[in-house]
Structures are given as C-alpha cells and as structure tokens.
C-alpha cells in the first residue's frame, strides 16, 4: 500500500463528479428560489471531498456492482450529509463552511433551518426511486438503513450538544469514541459502506464487519478533522480553532481536562462555561497553548494513527473474500488518506 495514495484522489474525483452531476437533478429548480431552493442548493454545490458517496459506490463496485447501481444511494448520502451540515452549523454556531460563511450567517437561522429540513427531504427521493432499479426488497432495506443511520446520527449529535449544554468536561476517551461512532461514523463511513455492500452483494452478507471497519475509519477521520481544526491553513475550509471557540469536546480537550492540574482544570471549566460569544481570543489562545503543553495534539495524532491500524485490520476482514479491484484498493488506501490529508 502506498504511503501517499494517488488512487484515492482519483476515485474521489471520479465518483465525486458522478455524484455531483446526478445530485443536481434532485435539486428543485423552481420557485421559491430566493428563500428556499437557492439555499437548498448552496452547500451541495460548494463542493466537498465527496468521501461519503465515493465510499458507497466503491463498496458496491468491490462486490461487483456497476457504479450507477449505487449512484442513487450515493446522492442520497451526500444530500443528507449537507442537510445535517446546515443544522450542525447552526447548533455549533459555526462561521465558515467550505471556505465561505455558513448558511445561517448569510441568510439567518430561520431560512437556513427550513433549507436544511427541505434538503433532508430532497435526499429521500433517490431512496424512494430505488425500487425501480434495485427491486422493492433492496430499496426498502436501504431506506431502513438510512433511517437507522439518521437516528443514530441524531443521538450522537445530542450527546455532544448535551455535554456542552451541561458543561460536562470530565469525559473519557471512550465517551468521545462513542459520540464519534454515532455522530460521525454512521453517516460518514458505516452507512455508505453498508449500503454499498448491500447493493453489491444483494443483501447476502453479514454487515457487522462493515460497522467495525467504518467505525475505525470514521473515528480516524474525525480525530484528524479535529486536529486540522487546530493546525490547518485556509484550505481547510473552516475557521481555525473554531472547535475551541465552540467548546467542542474533542479528544484533545478531553485529555487536557484529564491531565491538567486542578488550577488549570478549574480555569478550563470556567472558560467552557461561557457561551461562545462571551469567550475571548485570549481564552481560546490559552486553551490552545495548554493543549501543546499537555501533549494533547500529539496524543490525538498517535491515537488516530493507531485507530488507522485497527481500521486496516478490520478492512482485511471485511473484504477478505473479494477479488482484487481498483475499488477494493481504494477502500484500503482510504485509511492512509484520512490520516495524511490536510
């Protein structure tokens, strides 16, 4: 396996373009545009890595399906992802998304909320159309999988929001992983992989292996994403240190609280107790410096690398019986890519 994959960017580009082209057909091109459908189309047309739809298509193709057989599910995944991003950005008070102001900052929370709701509904359409191509059995199964994913994602989001609402800081790494499993992994990796495997195998496989592989891949992805928030340049697309401003319970913040001496711990708790708009740049700078002081960034980096090792192990189990293919290699190299990306 190459250290720096050229296959991953190639397939992300290929399947991403395919998804993006198909996705446009589902974005309503009618009135009311100004206050609804232009907003609905905003995030999907801003671009993005297209990791989720590409995982779905590649998993299906690794099992022998054609890309177009998984395209509807891939489109649905990307639309639902963008719908949740709109709501996440409101809930987190985020300011930037894919290099531009978040939707609610541009249009206000009420219109952004409505656009997010609409986009989620638009994302159901490809699933409803599945029965024509995939048959009623598989279409219903995929719809149920999507419903399960959406519920688990909401549970994960509730976990994290609840921690912030109650200002819980004394969390463990296991708490963090549980939250990430639900909030991130199911939508980002587990559901795309399971859906792709279902489409490719026509349901005839055990899906637990894909939950495991998806979990380790998704958790690695999320930790790397959290790290990039602290160190990335403008190409990252989100505001630097935004997670600190938002008080997100990342692996670094959890370790900081765990490792801090009591005086620092008290100060950290006091800062996090403030709502975002009452935190100062000095507060955020102090937290960031403490993270370096307490080795939190390198700790999280090491943690992500080890999860990546586990992801490779689970990959080898999940795809052991499949013949070698470009898509199979892509799925393997995704593990390296998520920890190398910047």
């Amino acid at each position: 396996m190459s250290v720096t994959s050229s296959l991953v960017p190639a397939i992300l580009g290929e399947y991403g373009a395919m998804t993006r082209a198909a996705l446009r057909d589902y974005l309503p091109a009618r009135e009311p545009r100004r206050h609804l459908y232009d907003l609905v189309a905003d995030y999907p047309l801003r671009g993005g890595k297209m990791m989720r739809p590409s995982l779905c298509i590649a998993a299906a193709c690794a099992f022998g399906a054609r890309p177009d057989e998984a395209l509807g599910t891939a489109v649905s995944i990307e639309l639902l992802h963008n719908a949740l991003l709109i709501h996440d950005d409101i809930e987190d008070g985020s300011e930037q998304r894919r290099g531009r102001p978040t939707l609610h900052l541009e249009h206000g929370i009420p219109l952004a909320l409505n656009a997010g709701d609409t986009l989620a509904l638009v994302g159901l359409r490809p699933l409803l159309e599945h029965h024509e191509r995939l048959g009623a059995d598989l279409a219903l199964r995929l719809a149920c999988e999507a419903e399960r994913m959406a519920l688990i994602s909401a549970e994960g989001q509730a976990l994290e929001l609840g921690w912030r609402h109650d200002n819980l800081i004394d969390l463990t790494d296991a708490d963090y992983l549980c939250m990430v499993l639900k909030k991130t992994c199911w939508l980002a990796t587990i559901f795309p992989l399971r859906a792709g495997a279902l489409i490719g195998s026509r349901v005839a496989i055990d899906l637990d292996a894909f939950v495991r592989f998806g979990f380790f891949l998704g958790a690695t992805f999320q930790i790397q994403d959290d790290l990039l928030n602290l160190v990335a340049d403008r190409s990252y697309g989100k505001e630097r240190d935004g997670d600190l401003w938002e008080g997100k319970r990342t692996l670094m913040l959890i370790r900081l609280f765990r490792e801090s001496v009591p005086a620092d711990r008290d100060r950290l708790a006091a800062i996090l107790r403030f709502p975002r708009h009452e935190r100062t740049g000095a507060d955020v700078g102090w937290i960031r410096a403490q993270m370096d002081r307490y080795d939190c960034v390198e700790y999280a980096r090491r943690f992500a690398h080890r999860l990546a090792g586990a992801a490779l192990h689970e990959y080898s189990l999940a795809f052991a019986n499949l013949p070698d293919s470009r898509d199979k290699r892509f799925l393997e190299e995704m593990v390296t890519w998520v920890v190398e990306r910047n």
């Binding site: 009623a136 790494d173 296991a174 992983l177 307490y294 090491r302 080890r306 490779l312 192990h313 013949p323």
Partner: protein, 272 residues
C-alpha cells in the same frame, strides 16, 4: 562423549509472531516515543508527569506509549462491541414488527411495499417475493430443504465463495439425502437465481431443457447445465447469460433424465 556442559538457553519470551498492527502508523516523533527510557517527554512537559512548575511527579507515572496504544485500541473495540451488542438487542426487539434487516425476514418486504403488477412478469416476480417473505415460517424444514444459492456475478470472482440464500420456502418432506445446490452464473448484469428442488437421491440424473422467458418475444436461455459433483455430493447449476439477453424473469423445469418426470424448477431474474 563430549564432557562440556550442555548449553541451555532460556525459553523465548514469545512463541508466536507479534502482530502489533496498532503501531503500523506513527506520527512524527512517535518512533522515538516508543522507546521507554529515552523517549520520555521533556521535564517541562506536563504530560511527562511533570508538574506545571517543572518538578517531576513520579507518583503519577503516565502509561508508556505501548500501553497508551493498547488502552486506546482496547477502548475503541469495547465501544464498537458494545454498540453492536446494543444493535442486536434493538434488532431483536424490532424483529416482530417485520422491519427489514432486523430479523430472520431481513430480506422480506412488507405488504405495503409490494409492487403493483399489470404484466405476467411482474405478477411472477411479486409471487416469488411473497414466497420469500414466508421463509421464516418454514424454518422448521431447514434440514429438509434443498439449499439454494444466489451468486452475484462479479468480475474475476475466483476465490469468492457462493453466498448462501435463504432456503426455499416450499415445504419438503424430511430427507437426510439432501444435497446442496451450487449455482455458477456468468452474467454481465445483476442476476438472481432461485433453485427449487426437492431432496433427491437421483441428483446425477437431473437435467433441464433451458429457461423460458415469461415475457413474450424473449429468446429462451439455453446455456443452462446441471452437473452432479459426486465428490461433494452436490448439484452444480451452471448458467451463462448472453449480454444481449433481455432483462426479465426466466424459468425452467428440472426433470429426471430417465422418467422425464419434473423434479423442480429454476427461476432466473435478470435486472436491467
């Protein structure tokens, strides 16, 4: 005889390979960090068990990085194992409601999802699915059912074991002479095969005349062979679907070569 004392070596510390996949990736500096004596964080680092004013705190030694890795991965596995356990419990709780993917009838569509049909082909397709939904009811007959298999046509599928499908829903008399059926299909498109075959001691004598399309105007599928594998005591059904074959449902009768009496059926569905 050699009088020199016999050299005895200590038993090796391990007797198997060390597969520490958790250390496959290492970030900058992590290699050094794995060496316990020389790689401790600098004294000024709080995570190196040094107090904020730089006084080493030996009473709270941090775990070595190897321990850190082990604990981290163990934690992750505990999280995912617990999640899967909870998922299974939830699935079992939901199964009576017939939610697809949560129980034995995972592939069965509820009645509301049945496809309305105005053609013979759709009626047959719907019928097949209806019988599939009855699969759990026939669970008691598992031992007496001829095993059916479905194989997704795959590029270079060598090495991929055929995937077992739910047993045929049709009731069978108990028979220990049951021989499993393996389906080998070559098709450029998605194809689903159902083999309905009673327990038979005459498997070597079975044959089929091909599969006929239910839709009018479609050519029959003639490249269909039944081959008995005496070594494995199983019947192999080989089907080759021409690339020009129209999509649809094809079916054929399995007959006994000697008596020409029907023994079972093969149904093939080719997707678009």
């Amino acid at each position: 005889m050699n009088d020199r004392p016999r050299i005895r070596r200590k038993d090796p510390a391990r007797d198997g390979p060390v597969r520490d996949w958790s250390n496959m990736f290492r970030g900058p500096g992590a290699t050094a960090a794995t060496a316990p004596s020389t790689d401790a964080p600098p004294p000024s680092s709080p995570t190196g068990n040094t107090s904020p004013i730089g006084v080493p705190d030996d009473s709270a030694a941090p775990p070595a990085f190897d321990d850190e890795a082990r604990i981290g991965i163990e934690t992750a596995y505990q999280v995912i194992d617990q999640h899967l356990r909870e998922g299974r419990l939830a699935a079992q709780a939901q199964a009576p409601r017939g939610t697809p993917g949560t129980g034995p009838s995972a592939t069965a569509p509820p009645a509301a999802m049945s496809i309305s049909s105005d053609t013979i082909q759709q009626v047959v397709t719907q019928g097949l699915r209806f019988y599939s939904s009855l699969t759990p009811l026939w669970a008691a007959f598992l031992k007496s059912l001829a095993a059916s298999t479905v194989v997704r046509d795959m590029p270079a599928a060598a090495g991929l074991a055929p995937v077992p499908l739910a047993p045929s829903p049709f009731p069978r008399a108990a028979a220990d002479s049951l021989a499993p059926v393996i389906v080998e299909i070559a098709s450029a498109r998605m194809a689903r095969v159902t083999v309905d075959l009673p327990p038979s001691t005459g498997a070597p004598n079975l044959a089929t005349g091909g599969l006929l399309a239910l839709a009018p105007g479609h050519a029959p599928l003639t490249d269909v062979a039944l081959v008995f594998d005496p070594a494995a005591n199983r019947l192999v059904v080989r089907i080759r679907v021409p690339d020009t074959q129209p999509p649809g449902v094809y079916s054929g009768v399995i007959v006994d070569r000697g008596s020409a009496a029907p023994r079972g059926t093969i149904t093939l569905r080719i997707d678009e």
